[in-house]
């Protein structure tokens, strides 16, 4: 390892880290917003309500993220209607394509997590809420969703960390995130170990910080519980 080179690489990689974090936060938030209605629909006992989320989750969990990314970034341009639509400036842009694909991808996983949590809410609590006269929408808003979110938090944390690692694929569509930066640094210096391993350290630091952030949130949401649930990072 050539430590001087490593030191010179740090500012560039930090620049990449900003992009990685931007992608992560945007897709995490958008994915969560998409996942809430889908999880509710998927938990439904009416078959045609749960049909769309089931097909959606099956597709996004069964195919590699790289295929999904290329399908959006390269694939959509095949259609004249897409190219002439007002959405084209967005879909032509690698950054927004990455945000879109990552959001859709992570939404599928979050849907599954939330669905499990919604179905795990103890029936007694729902019955109690009904018994004191809450309307179905109130039961849902005040009892089911808050309970489900709390139960889903550790798994959601896992998913955020998985998404952090998956976001390295943004470099395949020309974006200069941490991995993309490492790749250009490698092309300049021909020092693979220095550039890629230093990039790896950046990811490790972010993973570590995220794990602790989620532990902190869990403690806040579970004031009754002392020890945080351990997260597989």
């Amino acid at each position: 390892m050539d430590w001087d080179v490593v030191l010179q690489m740090i500012p560039k990689l930090a620049e990449g880290a900003v992009l990685t974090l931007k992608l992560l936060v945007l897709s995490g938030v958008i994915g969560l917003c998409l996942a809430v209605p889908m999880a509710v629909a998927k938990a439904s006992r009416v078959w045609w309500i749960s049909l769309f989320p089931r097909v959606y989750v099956f597709f996004f969990r069964g195919t590699p993220l790289l295929v999904q990314l290329f399908l959006v970034y390269y694939g959509l341009g095949q259609f004249e209607t897409v190219r002439s639509s007002i959405l084209w400036p967005v879909l032509f842009n690698a950054y927004w394509c990455a945000v879109l694909t990552f959001s859709l991808h992570t939404a599928a996983y979050i849907t599954e997590i939330l669905r499990g949590a919604i179905q795990a809410v103890p029936p007694g609590e729902i019955e109690a809420a009904r018994a004191i006269g809450m309307r179905p929408s109130q039961v849902f808003r005040r009892i089911v969703l808050p309970r489900a979110f709390r139960m889903a938090l550790p798994a959601y944390g896992n998913e955020v960390i998985l998404m952090l690692k998956a976001s390295a694929l943004a470099s395949t569509i020309t974006l200069l995130d941490i991995t993309g930066m490492a790749h250009t640094l490698y092309a300049k210096t021909y020092l693979p170990m220095e550039s890629f391993v230093t990039a790896g350290v950046f990811y490790l630091i972010i993973t570590y910080a995220l794990t602790h952030l989620i532990w902190f949130l869990e403690r806040r949401l579970h004031p009754d519980r002392k020890e945080p649930v351990t997260i597989i990072g």
Partner: protein
């Protein structure tokens, strides 16, 4: 029906390569996982430290970065090791070898945690009983512990296998002619990216669905004779 412009055979060859890569990485990953788990449960603190740092480091890094490290870095490391032994020729690591090792390493890191959990889950009395019957430590491990580890770890391994299958697409970036790479080639020729990437997506869906069905059968078989809590 979708018109593949005569690239069907190429896609088939790519799918075959994807499967080869998956199973080679699986074999390596299972071996590394068992070694990792035994290291983590070892009495020697050095081995425990090694096992734990292996899974922590590998699990904290993007899979894609691991593939790049193994592909571009392996040449460097191997050449410097070889030059210590007086061998100065250029060594090139093929994309297949680099991909297999990288994916196997990742699989092993996660699997070692699964195996560790499974080994702990087996009642120590069973190993004691086997030892009391006069089995050696090795016999106890292979006849008593390992078959049960398999049963307990199987659902988790199924998940990992599915992830591994999808991660093989990453190796296309370093030039292995697997499904994703041949699809990109077909896209370049036909100028129909959506058609071909969608076809690739469907092939991956079929592969993962078959794998998931296979896992269900394996689990059923591994759980023969285990009482289910109704």
């Amino acid at each position: 029906m979708i018109d593949l412009h005569g690239f069907g055979a190429l896609l088939f060859a790519g799918t075959f390569m994807t499967l080869q890569l998956t199973f080679c990485a699986l074999a390596l990953g299972l071996i590394l996982g068992i070694f990792g788990a035994t290291a983590k449960l070892s009495d020697a603190s050095v081995l425990r430290w090694l096992g734990n740092s292996y899974s922590t480091l590998v699990r904290g890094m993007p899979e894609f970065l691991m593939v790049l490290i193994f592909y571009f870095g392996a040449t460097d490391v191997l050449m410097s090791v070889a030059s210590c032994f007086g061998y100065d020729e250029y060594i090139e690591v093929s994309a297949f070898v680099a991909g297999t090792t990288a994916l196997g390493f990742i699989f092993g890191a996660y699997a070692s945690e699964l195996f560790r959990g499974a080994i702990i889950a087996i009642h120590p009395g069973q190993a004691e009983a086997a030892r009391a019957l006069g089995m050696s430590r090795r016999q106890t491990f292979f006849r008593i512990t390992l078959p049960q580890v398999w049963r307990i770890a199987l659902p988790g391994l199924g998940n990992l296998f599915m992830i591994l299958m999808k991660d093989t697409a990453l190796v296309s970036v370093v030039g292995l002619e697997e499904l994703m790479r041949v699809t990109s080639f077909a896209v370049g020729r036909s100028k129909e990216p959506f058609t071909f990437y969608l076809t690739a997506a469907v092939i991956y869906l079929v592969l993962t669905s078959v794998a998931s069905l296979g896992m269900q059968r394996l689990e059923k078989r591994a759980n023969l004779g285990v009482r289910e809590l109704a």
